[in-house]
Subunit: 216 residues, 2 copies
């Protein structure tokens, strides 16, 4: 088994998930800055050309962050980061999908179509005229979330789950490109600080540390 | 347990999933044309204001189509429409996420921001200037899929899975609003006909039939 890895919030969230589960997986680095993910041999494995992807021992390649994390949970159920019962899993999956469709996807697209357009214009269809509206849509999602989160502590209440990891890694990426959490979103801000304080938050920034396992 | 149900491709895909699994669940209809889903009492259950949502016997409400289907699979594993092993589940989930992020979400957004703007403008943030680009993005996704599908027969190869249901219900919706499958996408066209021929495709259009179970 190996995980195709790179810089960026998508592989980071899988690394953070692995760290929280105390799992280690061999990494193979792919240089996305030079576009190695958008051409063979990588695209023979993941024709969508995105990182991360997980190659299983039988050669099956699983791309897409959330399904990769689901796979790790299925084969290593404890500690549960999705859920131990169908009901817990359903609540966690509901939150992850809300986070992706209402926040992280529009925020990411607005970056790719706006400030990141120069890097992305030769890789994907870039829609510059959509950048501003999608950024506003992501802020709508965060405002709604701020009301729903309350005192949390996490999206699924007392349980820290995959959706928290997804949202954290993308908001931390957005912060890195100059879009910090709106200070009016006090609950989201407090949640962000709570997640930042987890050892996996810092360690997931460093692939070598993630590959070795947080306690190694 | 009950499923909040309405017209539209999202509840339809859950109905189609239930029909394929030969499960029956009580429905409660919500009138989305009058916006009943965007105000209380519905929003007390699903604050995002979207249909469908599944209310469990303990009062827990699960919204979001894919997590609802995952719940039904977890409590009724056979016939498997996601997978019987972690590997099968991972492949199915990978396809479902690809379909959603690269095809059904941009296609749906382009409809809501374009031809459907009049209905949606008082319900969600509408980004009219993004409609054309998002429609083109969805077509990019379908073109890519056409190459990957080959002779199929289904997204996950020989297995008919949740991703097929998601894609079918949205392409059938798009067809209903004048956007049939591009005839150049021959593999997608053949796949669409294969899925159309399943009894669940027709039956899922009729909530009463779906509630009673396909064989009732």
């Amino acid at each position: 088994m190996k995980l195709y890895n790179s810089i960026g919030p998508n592989p980071r969230l899988v690394r953070m998930f692995l760290l929280e589960k105390e799992l280690t997986v061999p990494f193979e680095e792919v240089d996305i800055m030079s576009g190695a993910n958008r051409r063979a041999p990588y695209t023979d494995r993941n024709p969508i050309g995105q990182i991360p992807a997980l190659e299983l021992d039988d050669g099956t390649v699983i791309s897409e962050t959330v399904p990769i994390c689901e796979y790790f949970e299925a084969v290593n159920p404890s500690p549960a980061l999705i859920g131990s019962t169908p009901e817990e899993q359903a609540v966690s999956r509901m939150w992850t999908r809300r986070i992706e469709l209402h926040i992280t996807e529009p925020v990411t697209a607005s970056f790719r179509y706006g400030p990141g357009a120069e890097m992305f214009k030769d890789r994907i269809r870039v829609i510059p005229e959509a950048a501003e509206g999608l950024a506003a849509l992501g802020q709508d999602g965060l405002e709604k979330l701020d009301g729903l989160l309350g005192s949390g502590p996490f999206l699924a209440g007392d349980r820290f789950t995959l959706g928290d990891i997804v949202l954290y890694c993308f908001l931390d990426f957005a912060k890195g490109v100059g879009q910090s959490v709106n200070p009016e979103h006090k609950n989201v801000g407090a949640w962000f600080e709570r997640v930042s304080a987890r050892p996996s938050a810092e360690a997931s920034l460093h692939p070598a540390a993630a590959a070795a396992g947080m306690r190694a």
